[in-house]
Amino acid sequence: MRTGLKYLALAGYVVFLAFPLVWLLSTALKTPREMAALHPALIPRHPTLANFADAFTEQDLVGGGLRSLVVAVAAAVVTVALALPAAYALARRPGVLNRVAIGWVLVSQVFPVILVVIPLFMVLRRLELVNTLAGLTLVHVTFVMPFALWMLRGYVRAVPREVEEAAAVDGAGRLRSLASVVAPLLAPGVVATLLFSFISSWNEFLFALVVLKDPEVATLPLTLVRFTGPEGVARLGPLAAASLLATVPSLLFFAVIQRRLRSGLMAGAVKG
């Protein structure tokens, strides 16, 4: 009886968590005709992949996807390139700056983004970078930077100092010990930070909304939001398909890191 109740509760959670997703998938597989039907069904009667094909032929969506890709790759590479040397210094030389950097990660969470968006917009306007992908990339770099620093610092700390010292004893110079000993050990952490920065930029909406006024330079989240408009249900199918496609990068990312999310990583992050 008690176990039965527990399973009932678990089933309730599964339904609550899953049903919007199932509905999104169902909408993506429906024909326009079925979308217009009076009583929408959970299981499409004539499932079709046409909506996915449509999403790939919509110029706005494809263009938005490509522009998101450019911004996200550029933002991720620039962020990690800038953060890696700093994270190394922060991890190996703990001190005041170290605490300031960690503090900044927390402080930047408390302030509403709007307080940063307005001045950034004014600065970008002065630099003639409004409505450019370069401007958005720049904003995304600064937006992700604190957390990227924090992540990378953790990975550097996980590389035992003794390993570097041993390399130094063996006569390797500093650069060689960094390149041949530290770099391979850091590689997984760098990849994780790259992916995290990529996803943050790929999903980001508010900055894009403010910086990219022009529909011709809109990134994917913007095109998705504007895609529906006020018109009827005919375009909901392609919209659902495109939304699913837009989620693929972060789903892959989470599939890779989910084990660590579930285990110690978060516990340490909170208890620290």
């Binding site: 399973y7 959670y13 968590l17 210094a89 969470q109 307005i118 972060s250």
Partner: protein
């Protein structure tokens, strides 16, 4: 993190830092590439934004900005739209945080037990986290859609959920709970797994039931984790923008206009940069005050 820190502390004292880490100048050179963009494009704008709150800055390219002291604050206090938005923000922030916590605690307790399908539930519990906020908003718009929506089909109703004056805010709150459950569940689950088994065993020997064990052992042990995650959730929720913007754009009639949506409109629709900045500062102060009070009370009760 505490483990790494204590390991570092346990390192034999007096060990020379190895070659290459000793140069103070070198450290600064390493830090500059990261500190410059953060200072110029993140700390700088924040300070700039706070200063803007005391000006009459407008969006026009050639508009002249002058210091107006506390004039914006006076306007804000007399602005009924602001108070409406503020109220919506508090209702949203508190109810989403509380419901997220209760729902996540229940789920975490279930996932901590040896139930079948636990793996499936664990994966599903992470999915909302992996979804871009815009997609989450669009997805729930499909669920709430008056004609093609799942909810009306299931309930046999004909309600325009997101455009109904009294239903829009609750409908949006449900989406907020859905979105934030993963982080909260993961953190609480990690906390539950950190509760020493011996404590439970000791109390069961004393003959305490499940409920008493939960109340007297689990909850007190979880307390630091609960305080940390609910504080973070509250900050995240009160600063929420994208999700609600995609769902309702603050409508109908401002019933879901969170403070950040209000500030966005003031700044980028009407061009009142200074006024919007004042709003941002005001919300920050309220968040800090609420958090301060909450953390202080928790610290006092824990002591």
């Amino acid at each position: 993190m505490s483990a790494t820190r204590s390991l570092a502390a346990a390192r034999p004292a007096g060990r020379r830092p190895s070659r290459g880490f000793s140069g103070g100048g070198g450290t600064l050179a390493l830090l500059l590439p990261a500190l410059v963009p953060v200072l110029v494009l993140s700390v700088g704008p924040l300070v700039y934004g706070i200063l803007l709150a005391f000006t009459d800055a407008r969006s026009g390219r050639n508009s002249v900005t002058s210091f107006t002291g506390l004039a914006n604050v006076a306007d804000l206090l007399g602005d009924s739209d602001f108070w409406g938005s503020f109220r919506v923000g508090l209702v949203w922030g508190v109810s989403v945080t509380v419901l997220q916590f209760l729902a996540s605690l229940g789920l975490a307790l279930l996932l901590d037990q040896n139930l079948r399908f636990r793996g499936l539930a664990r994966v599903l519990a992470l999915v909302p986290w992996a979804m871009p906020p815009v997609v989450t908003g669009l997805m729930w718009r499909l669920v709430y859609h008056p004609d093609a929506g799942l909810l009306n089909a299931l309930l046999g109703t004909d309600v325009d959920w997101l455009n109904d004056f009294s239903l829009a805010l609750p409908a949006v709150i449900v989406v907020g709970v859905w979105t934030g459950m993963p982080q909260t569940t993961v953190v609480l689950l990690a906390g539950l797994q950190g509760v020493p088994k011996e404590l439970h065993e000791a109390v069961s020997v004393d003959g305490a039931g499940t409920w008493r064990r939960f109340w007297n052992v689990t909850l007190p042990q979880l307390r630091p984790v609960i305080v940390a995650i609910t504080s973070l959730d509250f900050v995240w929720n009160i600063n929420q923008f994208s999700l609600v913007y995609v769902l309702t754009q603050g409508g109908p009639g401002g019933r879901t206009r969170l403070p950040m949506l209000f500030a966005y409109e003031e700044a980028f629709r009407y061009g009142f940069f200074g006024y919007a900045a004042t709003l941002g500062v005001a919300v920050t102060l309220v968040v800090l005050a609420v958090l301060g009070l909450y953390l202080w009370r928790q610290a006092r009760e824990a002591a």
